[in-house]
Symmetry: C2
Subunit: 325 residues, 2 copies
């Protein structure tokens, strides 16, 4: 038996993080509706703090720690740490900044300068390491030993999952009647949180995960009924290269109808469509859900579909539809 | 004496166009506020129908015609026409489509395919011509003669100006206390409408126009106290290459504090900043106001500033900060 975050946990998370995150708008596009022959609602987490839904999970985790420790522990925890080259790094740095805690982030030396700058901009301390999983974990372990920092995992943490779940909670308030909700699948924090919110509040609404074909570990894991990790997947959707975690997998098994996969070519097409028609900057990972819709026009005809647009942190020098110089 | 559109005209326009245009959101960015050392409110008309504020003026003009003719004229007008290679073409096509009228648009043969597709997508009839002013006007005159179409000028029309004014009307409802409002200046429809709304509702709030240095006809016209047109100006801000009109100029003279000019280099910097920090796709013309702020940090320190973000129709193949292949 796994004990999942409950809808009460998620509602508490929503209250807890409210002062620190945006209630992001939901957008629609007549032309995209026409292309899909469906009504599509985009929950714009690219406009979230730090440019991604990750701000929700990180602030919920960090503010949960603080409370727990003030109440229950002798020692006050004032440092958090993680290893990440992506949006979770900036999100944790932001969350720590919001509650005057200290954040340590282990990043690979070859992380994009813009990501380094974002993390540093929120006042986090960055430790650079070789770009290998082992080097990251070693560097993190050493920081935790030295500082007593609490490790906040990017997705395999119930506080993080409950935080990510608040995006769908809001979406269901903003658009109560949806036939289907789709969210992208990386480590599974967003999709599992989404599935928990939707199954509790709208059990008749189906939840699907959207995944790049070339990083289809969630698809294969559901088939195999056990976690099958990916190793070094090649996909434009850089936020979705991670594998499911032990906490996110069982939630997905229970509450997600299916994982749908799509090629990078269609992901790029969908990303460009969102930029062009909706005037929103979204990252490739955030376009995977629309990409799935583009390949399922027959099946979705006439339905009302909510998409969690996960983030908008993209290298404006390297847009995937442009030929490189 | 010029009779300007009144605040009642503008409020009527807002009611008239309400079913056909978005009440666009207002966004803020902590990091842009920090860069400017001011509080900046972005009225996101890039998220407007047809991707630009032009939808407001065009729908107001088109729906005004229909009403007038039903009441006052023997002959029902069911065709409108314009010449434009830019956002007004799509806006007029959209407006005509909304009220089941027919639209003719004269476009230069060399207009970008994406603009041609947008106009055609709303069901307008396109007449291509040589890319000269004379060829455009000749083609338009011939269409008007053949079809009895009503010409809707892109800016030199009080119904259009009143429509564009509704963006600032909304902004003042959304953010009532602003020290300053800035809008870009091309033909002057948006800035004159903005100035009319602000001066009527918040006379203590100052209105400034923002213009590219290399298309500074409004700046020079205000200095000279007469319209000084630009000829073939070279600026990245393609929406601002037109010169002021006889109707927009006197409104600007009366209600705009000053026209502030800025270089293309800073316009590109500002455009990129909006994409990167706010995750909004905006066209170069829409970034001219923020560009002005970037050059006036001392003067604007601590103030509350509203910017009308005019549009988001940009060629995603040719971003100005990327070296061309």
């Amino acid at each position: 038996m796994h004990s999942f975050p409950t809808i009460e946990d998620i509602k508490h998370a929503a209250e807890r993080i409210k002062p620190f995150v945006h209630r992001t708008p939901v957008f629609t596009s007549v032309s995209i509706n026409r292309i899909c022959d469906a009504r599509v609602f985009f929950k714009a987490e690219n406009l979230q703090k730090v440019g991604a839904f990750k701000a929700r999970g990180a602030t919920n985790a960090v503010f949960s720690i603080e409370k727990n420790n003030l109440k229950n522990s002798e020692r006050s925890v004032n440092t958090v740490a993680t290893h990440s080259s992506g949006n979770h790094a900036a999100a944790l740095a932001y969350a720590a900044c919001c509650c005057a805690m200290h954040a340590h982030v282990v990043m690979p030396e070859n992380a994009p300068p813009v990501k380094k700058a974002a993390v540093a901009g929120y006042g986090a301390e960055i430790t650079y390491c070789e770009p290998t999983q082992q080097a990251r974990e070693d560097a993190l372990a050493s920081i935790i030993e030295q500082t007593g920092a609490v490790f906040i995992h990017p997705y395999n943490d119930h506080r993080v999952i409950a935080g990510q779940a608040t995006a769908a909670l809001e979406l269901l308030e903003q658009v109560p009647e949806l036939d289907t909700v789709l969210a992208p699948v990386g480590g599974g924090g967003l999709i599992s949180g989404t599935a928990l919110s939707v199954s509790a509040l709208k059990p008749e609404t189906e939840v699907f995960g959207a995944e790049p074909e070339s990083a289809d570990d969630a698809y294969r894991s559901l088939q195999a009924k056990k976690i099958i990790p990916v190793t070094n997947p090649q996909t434009i959707a850089d936020g979705l290269r991670t594998s499911l975690g032990e906490l996110t997998f069982p939630i997905i098994q229970k509450h997600v109808t299916a994982i749908l996969t799509v090629s990078d070519t269609v992901i790029i097409e969908a990303m460009r469509l969102i930029w062009e028609r909706m005037k929103l900057v979204v990252e490739p990972s955030a376009a995977v859900t629309l990409a799935v819709l583009l390949t399922k026009r027959e099946q979705i005809k006439g339905s009302k579909i909510g998409l969690i647009v996960s983030g908008g942190n993209v290298d404006l020098e390297n847009l995937p539809w442009l030929k490189q110089c």
